[in-house]
């Protein structure tokens, strides 16, 4: 059982955290023909946009209500209205997802009231879904904003089904924000192999997977359609991935009666065994041969890899769901979690196999990473890893100094197998070669050595 502590520093140094605001914006990017709109000053949008461009290496649809000082004092109705009208005429979206910022929250703009007024005075916008979500950047973190946006889309769009749903092969999947476009592709293959027909909300695999569209599109290049979201009530069950999605899954269940099951992670042998057993039982399809082979390959990779993982000390910093997923899996591979730092609270944190989980920043991680064999966090860990002289494995968002961030796969037997290869290779590349001086005894330090020799 980990002790969860909150950092007491007054100054955050090298932030780990990102805002709810852009977490929600990213969720809206998993919907086809969508345009997220941040209600705040233009910098809020510009910073988020650049961050996603650097991570995904894709054009990012993201707009701003461009609040000026005067508009901030007087209230943002005109800006919201004008922004929606401009976006509608310039980019012809199906959905505009409006996320608040600290600026609009403090002013107290009543966004849902605004939208009602805009709806009544602009009947020509009737075909566009307008969804507001409250995402102040002075509380919560990225994954909260993502989950909030998904919940709001369910509340506003999903229709209450008229017919009994039990016979359908349709399933809903609610992936957390730590599930990459590449992960979604992998999961789709898995579900389809069980003759299931998944709707992913959001579906970044259609929009931010990196592909070449036929024509220029100012909105998202793909994703789940509004029509598909409406029909989510006709699925036989919902699979939520990550504790962050529990609220959205419950909302969907209350609204439509579609029951949900939650997997808090899909990395590692045991988690995927559970997934396979569940899918086979629910679909009535025996586990296809290819997954039996993949499982066997994963077991073999664990055998080959455990020499390199065993006893290694790893410092991990990530959002709660990603942290829990990585820390549990590394622990299952024989690593010792030397430090765990995260952004916000979650019921998962206490279960993490480490003494303390700290809500903190990357300076905290750096201070706790001395002597570690590996650091696991997003690209902003690069300065700390360099100073400490330890390798960095990049996970989460943003990863701006490596290619293929959107295609990093960590789910399934295959994803777990490849993760062993990637991290194992980092360990191998950073092995310390012995020298004639390595084993010269230093008498008197036996007690220190005993502490180092024993596993923690």
């Amino acid at each position: 059982m980990a002790r969860v502590t909150v950092g007491q520093k007054q100054c955050v140094v090298n932030p780990l955290s990102m805002s709810q605001t852009i977490g929600a914006a990213l969720a809206f990017m998993g919907v086809e023909k969508s345009m997220p709109l941040l209600h705040g000053s233009q910098g809020c949008t510009s910073f988020g946009l650049v961050l996603f461009v650097r991570h995904f290496r894709e054009a990012i649809p993201l707009q701003t209500t461009a609040m000026s000082e005067v508009a901030t004092v007087l209230g943002g109705f005109d800006n919201v209205e004008q922004a929606i009208v401009n976006i509608a005429s310039r980019t012809k979206p199906s959905l505009i997802g409006i996320c608040t910022t600290g600026v609009s929250e403090i002013k107290g703009d009543d966004l849902s009231g605004f939208l009602k007024l805009i709806r009544s005075s602009h009947p020509e916008l009737g075909h566009i879904a307008l969804i507001d979500v409250s995402t102040p950047d002075f509380e919560g973190a990225f994954q909260n904003g993502w989950a909030a946006a998904v919940t709001r889309m369910i509340e506003e769009l999903v229709e209450v089904p008229l017919l009994d749903t039990g016979l359908s092969r349709r399933i809903n999947v609610l992936p957390g924000c730590h599930i990459s476009p590449g992960d979604i592709d992998e999961l789709r293959d898995i579900f389809e192999a069980f003759s299931l027909d998944p709707f992913f909300l959001p579906d970044l695999s259609g929009s931010l997977d990196g592909h070449i569209p036929e024509e220029f599109t100012p909105t998202t290049l793909g994703g789940i359609s509004i029509e598909q979201i409406r029909r989510m009530g006709s699925a036989c069950w919902t699979l939520a991935i990550g504790e962050q999605m529990r609220g959205a899954a419950i909302t969907l269940e209350h609204r439509t009666g579609v029951p949900y099951v939650l997997f808090d992670r899909l990395t590692g042998l045991a988690s995927n065994d559970e997934l396979m057993a569940f899918l086979s039982r629910e679909s009535g399809v025996p586990v296809p041969k290819k997954f039996r082979r993949q499982r066997s390959q994963l077991v073999d990779a664990m055998l080959d890899g455990h020499f390199h993982f065993g006893g290694k000390k790893v410092a991990v910093a990530a959002e709660p769901d990603l942290l829990a997923s990585m820390a549990h899996w590394l622990h299952e591979m024989g690593c010792e979690i030397q430090a765990a730092v995260t952004t916000t609270g979650s019921p998962l944190l206490e279960s993490i196999p480490v003494e303390e989980v700290l809500l903190g920043d990357l300076e905290d991680l750096e201070l706790r990473s001395a002597g570690a064999d590996l650091m696991v966090t997003h690209s902003h860990g690069r300065q700390a890893a360099e100073r400490l002289g330890i390798p960095l494995f990049r996970v989460g968002i943003p990863v701006f100094d490596r290619l293929g961030a959107g295609q990093q796969v960590t789910v399934g037997y295959k994803g777990t197998r490849d993760l062993i290869f990637d991290i194992g290779n980092l360990f191998m590349a950073n092995m310390h070669e012995p020298t004639p001086r390595t084993w010269i005894p230093q008498h008197g330090n036996e007690h220190n050595l005993i502490a180092l020799d024993l596993p923690q």
Binding site: C11, V12, S46, N86, F216
Partner: protein
């Protein structure tokens, strides 16, 4: 807030800005702070602009007072390089919470400054004001004053809430901050008749270092670069320079002008982009120094260096001519002067078929017209969709632009080169122009273009038939 709005008003009505002075009285006061169209705006806020202008000061702590949207998404993203201190790459923010909003963030900010000073002991702390604390009335000037007195350390308030205006305005407000709190607060140990300031150069990708060796050779000392690769004390002592060059268009024109007024430092506006421009800049630096009393032989030494470097650059660009002749370029340079790059591209045989003039002055437009004759199109505001169409229809061979339009070109399967502030290559001075031509050649001659433009097998009729036969 009234002091901020007065400040904003004063920097917008800039007497040394030719663009602004050319406007009618009624518009002049509005300056270049365009009214932003909600839902159709692109670009950074005033805080962003201030951070771009000041973060290149490498040895100070840059502390952002605001919630996480401001600093959390933007740190370690700017390409300004340092020859020594690395403190500027460490991110500091109060990451305000609901608690701060309710009770006010001033005490939190004070404690944060104290923590930074105790832990990192920088020569100064720059504190950036953002929208949220401005809305709840946090008085950062007062907090900085108290912190400076108690901690015995310059603590500089940079009052730039994002909603006060654009990135460009933020540049200027950053300059005002330096004028009000930093420049002239210390004295240099020694001065020489060869001391200059370079204002508005941020050493992105190390561009200052493409020019500095030539100044070193001429015996010209950069007393302060404001602010690329500079240190706090250098900026504080910059008022003793003999002359100044203002780079990067109009971003810090207020600093150059006020330093001339206050300290009698003459300045000129120049550019290190382009061969001719670099030569002009070196010439004018030397001339200003000689006017201020440096020995006149500096002029002839400068001409020797210019002649040698120009010949060397043209010699190196020459071989690219046959490879690049007739290739058509779309040039969207944003802040960088279009015309100064155009000459070098033409020398390498490239044809400019279109360029943006969105941020150019009427004067710039005239010069572009002269250079590119009638075959070029000048665009004030080309929409991404039209840009995409031009590239898709192969009316251009390559696009040079900023990151914002990168994917417009790449998704049309057309070569693209980053010439904006996030770029990874340095394009300043003589070295830089050779590098630019080399990068264009690398982009155009890459073997991927032929491969990726080939149709997929299932889109080729003959192959399709064959496949069917095979299947049958």
């Amino acid at each position: 807030m009234s002091t901020l709005s007065a400040k904003v008003q004063s920097v917008l009505d800039e007497p040394a800005c030719a663009t602004n002075q050319a406007k009618p009285d009624s518009e002049r006061k509005k300056g270049c702070n365009k009214l932003l169209a909600p839902g159709a705006a692109a670009g950074g806020c005033a805080f962003d602009g201030a951070k771009i202008a000041l973060q290149p000061i490498t040895d100070v702590a840059h502390l952002v007072h605001g919630p996480i949207n401001c600093e959390g998404h933007s740190w370690d993203g700017r390409g300004s390089k340092s020859s020594g201190p690395l403190l500027y790459r460490i991110s500091f923010t109060t990451a305000m919470t609901e608690q701060d909003i309710i009770f006010g963030g001033e005490k939190h900010l004070y404690k944060a400054i104290k923590e930074v000073v105790e832990k990192y002991n920088p020569p100064a702390v720059f504190v950036y004001q953002t929208c949220v604390p401005a809305m709840i009335g946090d008085d950062i000037e007062a907090v900085c004053k108290a912190a400076a007195a108690n901690l015995d350390k310059p603590v500089i308030p940079v009052n730039v809430p994002g909603f006060s205006g654009s990135k460009n305005l933020g540049n200027k407000l950053a300059g005002e901050t330096l004028l009000d709190y930093v420049i002239g607060t210390e004295e240099p140990a020694e001065t020489t008749p060869y001391d200059i300031n370079i204002i508005g150069e941020y050493n992105l990708s190390g561009e200052l270092w493409q020019v500095k060796p030539l100044l070193d050779e001429l015996g010209i000392r950069i007393l302060a670069s404001i602010s690329g690769d500079s240190k706090y004390h250098e900026v504080a002592r910059s008022h003793r320079a003999r002359a100044a060059m203002m780079v990067c268009s109009k971003a810090m024109i207020n600093v150059a002008r006020k330093m001339e007024e206050r300290y009698g430092i003459p300045f000129f506006e120049g550019s290190f982009y382009g061969i001719g421009d670099t030569s002009d800049a070196l010439r004018r630096i030397s001339q200003l120094l000689v006017d201020r009393g440096a020995p006149a032989e500096l002029l002839s030494r400068t001409e020797v260096v210019i002649a040698r470097e120009e010949a060397r650059a043209w010699l190196r660009i020459g071989p690219f001519k046959t490879r690049l002749a007739g290739k058509r370029v779309l040039l969207f340079t944003g802040g960088v002067k279009s015309w100064s790059v155009v000459a070098a591209l033409q020398e390498a045989g490239l044809v400019i078929i279109g360029t943006s003039t969105k941020k150019s002055t009427p004067d710039d437009k005239e010069r572009i017209k002269e250079l590119v004759k009638d075959d070029a199109h000048m665009f004030d505001d080309l929409k991404p969709r039209e840009m995409y169409k031009m590239l898709k229809d192969a009316r251009a061979d390559i696009m040079l632009s900023g990151g914002r339009t990168q994917f417009v070109a790449l998704k049309a399967k057309m070569p693209w080169l980053d010439i904006n502030q996030e770029r990874h290559h340095a394009y300043a001075g003589y070295e830089g122009m050779v590098a630019l031509v080399r990068e264009i050649d690398k982009a155009l001659s890459n073997p991927i273009w032929d491969q990726i433009r080939r149709p997929a097998p299932w889109d080729v009729a003959a192959v399709r038939d064959q496949l069917q036969i095979h299947i049958a």
